[in-house]
């Protein structure tokens, strides 16, 4: 599965903000960490703001705060803001037996993708990030002592 850049940025931004409850981060700060333009990220944050996932904080030192429930918001909630739902076949032949069979297979893939994305909350992703961070720390320590 390939995510659009906007979707990926949205997930990164939510993870970044939810890891710092009560704090706010500017678009520039988040963009710098992930090497993306503030302009692109600002558009992503606007979409998430309208969906109620983040809140803009005005004034000096302003930025964005996570405003969702980390134990309720899933990756699917974020992905659906930026991606078309479901797989599509191109061209004709969709009413043929071959086309229907292909749609059946693609529907299976879509079901699994939706179940996976819909079962991983922002809080669960936070744990996965921590684990990945721990694994990276161990691997760095290993190569340093090798």
């Amino acid at each position: 599965m390939r995510l659009q850049i906007s979707t990926q940025l949205a997930i990164f931004a939510v993870l970044e903000l939810s890891a710092r409850a009560g704090e706010q981060l500017s678009v520039a700060e988040i963009g710098e960490k992930y090497g993306v333009s503030s302009h692109h990220l600002a558009k992503v944050m606007h979409v998430m703001g309208r969906a109620g996932l983040v809140r803009a904080v005005r004034g000096a030192g302003g930025g964005y705060q996570f405003s969702g429930n980390a134990r309720r918001i899933t990756l699917l909630d974020i992905v659906q803001l930026f991606e078309e739902a479901g797989s599509e076949t191109n061209g004709g032949g969709e009413t043929t037996p071959e086309g229907r069979a292909l749609r059946q297979v693609l529907a299976e893939i879509d079901d699994i993708s939706r179940a996976t994305l819909g079962s991983i909350t922002v809080a669960t992703m936070g744990k996965l990030v921590e684990r990945a961070n721990g694994a990276r720390g161990k691997s760095t320590a290993k190569s340093a002592t090798a």
């Binding site: 134990r71 899933t74 179940a115 819909g118 079962s119 909350t121 684990r131």
Partner: protein, 159 residues
């Protein structure tokens, strides 16, 4: 080493997890019927016989009890080996938490307790299976760090 009589108290979650007893079974049947809307006393009687009484070093039927002795939940699993080519691992095939005590840690306490039993039985992997559209258990198991395993379940309609 058998741990059938062991009681594991999980203070943080305010439930104690222990092996099932015959006296718990009416509550187990009632909780399952409440959650699944499908009473199945004969099934649970059979599960109690096989998992509550036999091969206690590899079969685990645990209950979580609230401080007031109410049944907060239960979990059932066993160590299985070589099915589908799998090396020995722990399988959880039933987990239920009373709706009125959810989000208080009873499910985590049960999963922690059966994980400890599996480790003691010598396995280092735990598996379960969840319906794709069963979002609540899926969210729970994911939050406990479980990821998709190396197997895909296949089925077909028998004409």
């Amino acid at each position: 080493m058998a741990t059938a009589a062991k009681t594991r108290t999980v203070k943080a979650q305010a439930v104690s997890v222990r092996r099932v007893r015959a006296a718990d079974m009416d509550k187990v049947v009632a909780l399952d019927a409440q959650v699944t809307k499908l009473p199945k006393p004969d099934y649970w009687s059979d599960v109690f016989t096989r998992y509550g009484k036999q091969r206690p070093t590899e079969r685990f039927f645990l209950v979580a009890e609230a401080p007031d002795s109410r049944l907060a939940g239960f979990i059932v699993g066993e160590v299985r080996a070589w099915e589908f080519g799998s090396t020995p691992c722990g399988w959880v095939f039933a987990l239920s938490v009373a709706p009125d005590v959810r989000l208080a840690g009873a499910g985590s306490a049960l999963l922690d307790a059966i994980s400890a039993e599996f480790r003691q039985a010598g396995v280092d992997k735990m598996r379960t299976m969840v319906a794709r559209d069963a979002q609540l258990p899926m969210l729970f198991f994911r939050s406990e760090g479980m990821m998709a395993g190396p197997y895909i379940q296949l089925e077909k309609d028998l004409d």
